[in-house]
Symmetry: C2
Subunit: 385 residues, 2 copies
């Protein structure tokens, strides 16, 4: 698909819900001394795919399209995909980097230990949305600033979730397998293919992505439910027709389809364990583009095998990249992909523009868009608490 893409309309403006109030006192990073900075970016390598699309900015080769701009200002810009183990390329730069740019798609895990050794580190930027690969408490304690390109790929992820809902409800993959294996057996697909219309879809979390999903689900005439800490404003609730469920355990048994749209926090890590999955309808379909670690890996495998889960689709795993023997690769009724939903070409253009904007502000000592802050002046944004 050769499309005209406009990076200019990229960064969407959303009402801030970061929970960080405005402040004119800048953190250490924004008082950074002028002069050359060492910036390290960790992105997935594209190899032969790098040259196939001029807008492919999110890979190591594309390097967000900011190399020339950075270097022309005298900054040093190291980009690598090599992020694991004591001898990796990233490790070499930990002691003297000022800024680390990472992504959720190929996460550079920023541990407390790495933060301690990064004496010059001031700023951690996530190219995309989702900074749980960073030890936020340790970052806050060290006075670092952590920021994302909030909103840069929420549409991308919400669209992808709706695709996965349909793939599971319609039982797409067994049909595709028949095609490529020379078979034709309509019954083998149809006996468990349904319309989405009339089904009950519940989202666990109704932040930016959850709300966009609900808006896109609206014309499908489903029963829409959402669980969150807070009720949506009445206008949006009215617009989507979604019903608030204060108690997650009360919502789960009602849902034909459950979509996970909550950040990974200490509260949500392993939330969907054997007990939680047992509360759901037999044959429930689950879509999870949030984070793999929100699920108990083995509980998902067991429930897919027993039929308690009728289908599981998502693009998030723990760890990432998923090892060759990750059991979700081989469980029945899965429709998984690598971590991809937030890194469409359109999303890359937006988060590349957002990172460049924040770097520019950082060099100039200016504040970031408020909703981008994840850690600021020792405080962690409320959605990560």
């Amino acid at each position: 698909m050769a499309m005209k893409l406009a990076a200019t309309s990229a960064i969407r403006s959303f009402a801030s819900s970061s929970g960080i109030s405005g402040s004119s006192a800048f953190a250490r990073c924004l008082h950074a001394s002028a002069g050359s900075k060492k910036i390290v970016g960790v992105f997935y390598k594209a190899n032969e795919y790098a040259a196939k699309n001029p807008n492919f900015l999110g890979c190591a080769e594309g390097a967000l399209g900011i190399r020339e701009w950075l270097e022309s200002q005298g900054h040093q810009y190291i980009v690598t995909d090599d992020k694991e183990g004591p001898n990796c390329e990233l490790e070499k730069h930990i002691p003297d980097l000022h800024v680390l740019i990472s992504t959720p798609f190929h996460p550079a895990y920023v541990t407390e230990e790495r933060i301690k050794r990064a004496k010059n580190l001031q700023l951690l930027l996530t190219a995309g949305v989702g900074s749980d690969h960073i030890d936020l408490k340790a970052a806050a304690a060290a006075g670092l600033t952590v920021a994302e390109v909030t909103g840069s790929n929420v549409v991308s992820v919400a669209e992808d979730e709706l695709m996965r809902i349909l793939i599971l409800v319609r039982n797409f993959l067994p049909g595709y397998h028949q095609v490529i294996t020379g078979e034709w057996n309509v019954a083998g697909i149809a006996y468990r293919a349904y319309d989405l219309e009339g089904k009950t879809v519940g989202t666990v979390g109704a932040g930016r992505i959850g709300r966009l999903l609900l808006q896109r689900l609206k014309p499908f005439n489903c029963n829409l439910l959402y669980h969150d800490r807070l009720k949506m404003d009445p206008e949006l609730e009215n617009q989507t027709g979604a019903k608030f469920e204060e108690d997650l355990d009360a919502m789960l048994p009602k849902c034909d389809i459950v979509v996970i749209n909550t950040p990974l926090t200490e509260q949500t890590r392993g939330l969907f364990n054997k007990d939680k999955i047992a509360k759901m309808k037999k044959g429930v379909l689950i879509v999870n583009n949030a984070r793999g670690a929100i699920m108990d890996t083995q509980a998902v495998v067991d429930a897919c095998s027993s039929g308690q889960i009728g289908g599981y689709s998502g693009d998030v795993w723990y760890p990432q990249p998923a090892p060759k023997d990750h059991p979700w690769r081989y469980m029945p009724n899965q429709a998984m992909t690598p971590h991809i939903s937030g890194t469409t070409i359109d999303a890359q253009l937006r988060y590349a523009a957002g990172v460049k904007d924040m770097l520019d502000r950082y060099f100039k000592g200016e504040e970031f868009p408020l909703q981008n802050y994840i850690v600021k002046e020792g405080k962690i944004a409320s959605q990560y608490l």
Copy 2:
């Protein structure tokens, strides 16, 4: 997914667009003499899948759930999946059947020759929507009535089309292949994965299914175009924001995604040949759940191979079942399935109820719902002309 399904709300009411005006003069079939009728149903066989779902009515074993009802009234009901060749089961019953029930999913091709030999035939019912497997001219000339369960699966098909659009735009299948083959290469997917937002989607045909698709596309913030013989009523045009394109050749070059939503007629057979496909954008994505014969089979293969078509998805083929060596099974960037979109469990419940309703009216000498008629009193419905 274990769901409560209500057949009662099944048959949707749509404004009639069949183009056949009401008439109190009944055709031969509706003057049929009272007494026992021989009814033959041709459905796909489900074998081991038949018992897996009590609502699986659309298979030969399920037989639309009307056997007991028919036999209790003294009618004979033969059901088979064996529909091809001179010695097939269907052929045995051609000389003396009164009613033939067939489906688009496993089409019993009703040729002029078969109609000539079917001396007792009065009524041809399509369980579903799409009666192009019947020679409608020959049926009209013979004074037969042909009727579908109009509207019974239009939601099912429209949902499936949106799924296929997303599967192609998001480049889903290469990611899934990586998962099951133990790989992880985000770049190999991302270099041609896009958001649907902002893209131009054109539907060729904006009848019932096309309109439902446009309604479901509305929240995705695309540029929506439609080509049809007639402009939609302004309210619906306004509601979907879709723009009318009178000239198909003028619409095609604007579209990132083209969806085929036109019946198969003499005008549309082979419509998308090499020349037509060449008018589209390089890398266009095509979704076709209408009929396989609307495409020139080899032109699609060639364009997928050259990259002129960036992705092709649909569930319709010519002929059906698609032979093992059908080239669409093996062309690049396809996301095909067997003919499945209109035979979800929900759709089966609706079209089974609709067929039962029409048989009941036939036995009682009552008129069918007007929009269901495809051939009546020698006239063919306008959408098939």
